[in-house]
Symmetry: C2
Subunit: 218 residues, 2 copies
């Protein structure tokens, strides 16, 4: 399959478009122009059209894009036109917040397992899911069809946890622990660094940094 390199920025923007399209759909709007989409995301119309053009022609000249159809197309491109089974590891502050985070479910990410290594937490119930002992990850995760693992454990133990997760055959990991993790090349690892944006704000304020049309509004 011949495929152009799609930049990370483009993918992230598709996420933005998807969200906005869902809003437009909820408002009952039938079509949307690249201009309107761009205005909402603080991007340029050309940017929107270019992003979409990597994947096909979804619009109608002179009219715009059909909202529902485009939403479905982007969902398909991103792979969220289906359900993904997710395990959350670590049910501390962050972990339990994620378990309750409705936006994940809305995007098709279904949390089916929760793990922890704290005896006091194991067996307790979060949103209808019994917390399992992380020791049993290798058995229980595949059994439950887990495809994505979210790491929400303290930094110091995150590498050990991720090693076990990789050994259990998981190929996609989202890490909330504030450390750099090492994984084999065939495992997808993404990091969610919540301090990063605060630090950006800090930098901007200290330096009176000029706001710009950010390439990526996270």
């Amino acid at each position: 399959m011949e495929r152009k390199r799609i930049s990370e920025s483009t993918i992230h923007r598709l996420s933005l478009y998807l969200r906005t399209l869902a809003e437009l759909d909820a408002d009952g709007q039938a079509t949307v122009s690249s201009k309107e989409l761009a205005d909402r995301e603080k991007l340029t119309p050309a940017q929107v059209r270019k992003d979409l053009s990597f994947f096909g022609s979804f619009g109608t000249r002179g009219l715009g894009y059909p909202v529902i159809e485009l939403k479905d197309k982007i969902a398909r491109i991103l792979g969220v036109n289906r359900t993904w089974n997710v395990a959350v590891i670590g049910v501390g502050n962050i972990g339990s917040a994620l378990v309750s985070y409705k936006e994940f479910a809305r995007q098709g990410f279904r949390i089916v397992k929760i793990f922890d290594n704290d005896q006091r937490k194991i067996g307790s119930n979060h949103k209808g899911i019994q917390v399992s002992d992380f020791k049993d990850f290798a058995d229980e995760a595949p059994e439950a069809g887990v495809e994505i693992a979210i790491i929400a454990v303290p930094g110091p133990i995150a590498q050990y946890v991720v090693d076990d997760v990789v050994r259990a055959g998981i190929k996609a990991i989202l890490n909330f622990a504030p450390v750099n993790l090492r994984v084999p090349a065939d495992v997808y690892l993404r990091n969610e660094n919540m301090s990063m944006e605060l630090e950006y704000l800090s930098f901007a304020m200290v330096n009176n940094h000029v706001q710009k049309k950010t390439r990526r509004t996270v």
Copy 2:
């Protein structure tokens, strides 16, 4: 003050360097080369050197960078060599997780106020802080010296909340609500979109997307 445009990517990488330098310092390592720093972040040594060179010459040829000194320099650049007073608005799942998130404190972001509009939550105690009524934001936030507001309220009310926050004179906002917010040009707004990285993982898996040296590992 004449200053080059510093790209967003560079600032984000400085955050990464800062974190890694803290780890290295904790390990007792005295110096670090651009190569070692690059390997840890999956970047190139040239990238690291270029990023730092925007702000000065911090290294010693033939030797590398002094860990502690560089850490302090970057902290100063990012503006985190001081304390920032932060208010968290909305003490639901995400909000209360953020209040307890130790990494913020470690980076100098001190949560001094918590607001909500739910009578059942107002007055309750989170990590030693009494939850205030959001109605009183305009009075209490300036009084407490709040400089940054974190929005952790449900999407549908986020724009109203942010409008009030702006009216109260806050110039820096970190938004966790999954919606696009509008703020005046002189207000710094950053978004934390936690679904975005999950969607990236989804895209990568569906498309067998080749891992690359990502410009920005969030």
